[in-house]
Symmetry: C2
Subunit: 394 residues, 2 copies
């Protein structure tokens, strides 16, 4: 069920943004009469979009039951990564009620991957986690036309260009479906349930195989004019450098990302410059960012050097972006974020050195605490805002 008119969406927006309230508080805030609010709340209860949350402090005899976004609502959040698929169920308060996950290979194409996602939603329903289904949000690892619900020229997703992801789900499930870039979804997850809850303007930087950025300004995702905002992996940090997957040289993610770390660590192992990495490579056959972290913690100076150089280059790019958009926080997530505080220390050093004092005077740079959950919370959040007609105030 969706709200039927503008009054109802304003009520739902206020409940989402300000939390549970009494009918009188809502009436005052929205300039509606007490009887009009009563009417709309009754209707929203019939639609099962709001429910009662208990009693507010008494104000002298008037009925003062608290109203909230219905806890019985169920939104599905799907987070499609290059190598993993996560499906979660969130309630009306953006609380995760169930979560399943499996390994995938995004290059198998949309039919296979979306088929798996549909099966996992079916499994969650069979297990009783979806007594109702109010909307499905999906994050995919590439640029998305948010309006159209498909990916646009996604570099790491052969076969997905303009594939109708939204239609695929709408055929299977009778509910609203929205598709967004995975990093945007994670940023929204951080806004609702992560460390960025307390701020209105922040950047979420995901360092995985590549590097991307979710931009939240005034509690809204900034998607740009054709959905490619946040594509910071291809910002040039030097005039020269390793050749990037995009064909240019000097791009940030060709210098520092999961893929770049793997490449550089393998070279250090093969050349024998890093005995620690050589041992790990012999053990495992390939090296990942996690292996670089392990070698670094074991005292390998070459591994430490890789992390420091990478952090400095990331910090250099972020310094420009901080001058440009003056965020109140930077949250760093994705697999490479596991390199932790050594990485953050380098980023901070470079950022504080290169950005203006006004922009960095109170700028925390933190590691995501949501980790793997950010994507599903955010995807569920995107579709729930859409269903409820929520427009966060700016």
């Amino acid at each position: 069920m969706q709200p039927e008119n503008a009054h109802q969406t304003r009520v739902l927006t206020s409940l989402r943004v300000n939390g549970p309230q009494t009918a009188s508080e809502l009436a005052a805030q929205l300039s509606l009469s007490r009887s009009k609010i009563g009417q709309e709340l009754a209707r929203l209860e019939q639609l099962e979009l709001v429910d009662r949350a208990g009693q507010a402090e008494s104000r002298g005899g008037r009925r003062s039951g608290l109203v909230q976004v219905a806890r019985s609502l169920r939104f599905v959040g799907i987070d499609i990564g290059a190598s993993s698929l996560d499906v979660g169920v969130a309630g009306g308060g953006m609380d995760i009620r169930a979560h399943v996950s499996e390994a995938i290979d995004i290059t198998e194409g949309p039919e296979v991957i979306l088929g798996r996602a549909v099966e996992l939603v079916g499994k969650l329903r069979a297990d009783g986690h979806l007594p109702r289904l109010d909307g499905i949000g999906i994050g995919v690892p590439g640029p998305v036309s948010f309006r159209d619900g498909f990916t646009v020229s996604p570099p790491i997703m052969p076969g997905w260009d303009r594939y109708p992801v939204r239609e695929h789900f709408m055929h299977q499930f009778d509910c609203p479906v929205l598709v967004d870039n995975d990093v945007n979804a994670m940023a929204i997850g951080e806004m609702y349930c992560g460390l960025a809850r307390s701020v209105r303007d922040f950047l979420f930087v995901k360092i995985g195989t590549g590097i991307g950025c979710g931009i939240i300004m005034g509690n809204r995702v900034l998607r740009g004019s054709n959905g490619s905002a946040g594509d910071i992996g291809h910002i040039a940090v030097h005039d020269t450098g390793p050749v990037c997957s995009c064909g240019r040289t000097g791009c940030l993610e060709a210098w520092f990302s999961g893929a770049a770390l793997s490449r550089d660590a393998t070279a250090l192992a093969r050349s024998g410059e890093s005995p620690g990495l050589r041992e790990l490579l012999a053990d495992r056959g390939t090296l990942t960012a996690r292996d670089v972290g392990a070698a670094m913690r074991a005292g390998d100076p070459q591994a430490l050097g890789l992390v420091r150089d990478g952090g400095r280059r990331l910090g250099r790019v972020l310094a420009s972006l901080v001058n440009f958009c003056n965020p109140a926080m930077i949250v760093v997530g994705g697999g490479v974020a596991e390199l932790g505080h050594v990485l953050l220390a380098e980023v901070r050093g470079e950022l504080y050195r290169r950005s203006t004092p006004l922009a960095t005077s109170s700028l925390p740079i933190v590691l995501s605490e949501l980790g793997g959950n950010a994507g599903i919370v955010g995807a569920a959040g995107i579709v729930s805002d859409h269903v409820l007609g929520v427009q966060p105030a700016s």
Copy 2:
């Protein structure tokens, strides 16, 4: 007069964003009954916030007068620059009805400069241009705390730090007053009346003595968490370079800005490398960006080199920002924009070479057509949106 309730602000927002409409169209769009809309429109007419704009096409007998934001409204826009003061009067349709201008020196401090501005408003009133005064918007050349209405650590404005600019005007005039950064105001002017009218997401780059950027995303100004968003003059383009006014090296505006051009042109004139510039310097005693433009157009290769190098450095910074926020247009304004198409050609070349094809596939980079009017139109626009309660949809 200001609107009295949320219905009235929604009516005014719709009229500002969608233009003149009939009462029936407004009722349908805002989910209000025809009689409720009639009531609110009558009240808005009494408040002189809306008036009748003529007849819509007939739809079979129903009364269909068009309603619009009252053309009789009068907003004052004040644009305070480092060396110029502009005061204009705009009507309800953001049309400039009168405009006065004079040379100032911002370092004379707030009492003197704001005193001059108040006098100019008085002059416009004495001349009959302000039969009413619904609000005053002010743009100042430094970071502004938009909420507090004062400047924060403005580098080129000694004596202005935390000076209560808004209060200064509120004591003199009985109307709402808002203060914003001058470049933000110009960007809003471009959004209402300039080439950017047609897009929702764009950057306005002002190249004057320094370099700043106004960021419009989803038809809103992005101000950042403490009002310093758009401070692109201090983004580092190289690790080394001339020492900047901020004390660091490598900043964009230390390499390219009105001040940097003046410095470099003077050096080329004194060393004799550029006979053209040497002649101009002998003539005038100082060299400005305009002189560099004149020498360039007269065929001086050194002057041309300065513009090309500067354009490339600006393009380099803009390339990062385009990848980051994916605007639909870049408008270049400010005095140095008079260097014109040679400058733009270099910016474009660098930008298209360094940004991702998706972000630049349809990205016009244009010179401002509003020129000196952008600041007053925008300052008037900021306060008029506030007075009308306008929240552009995103």
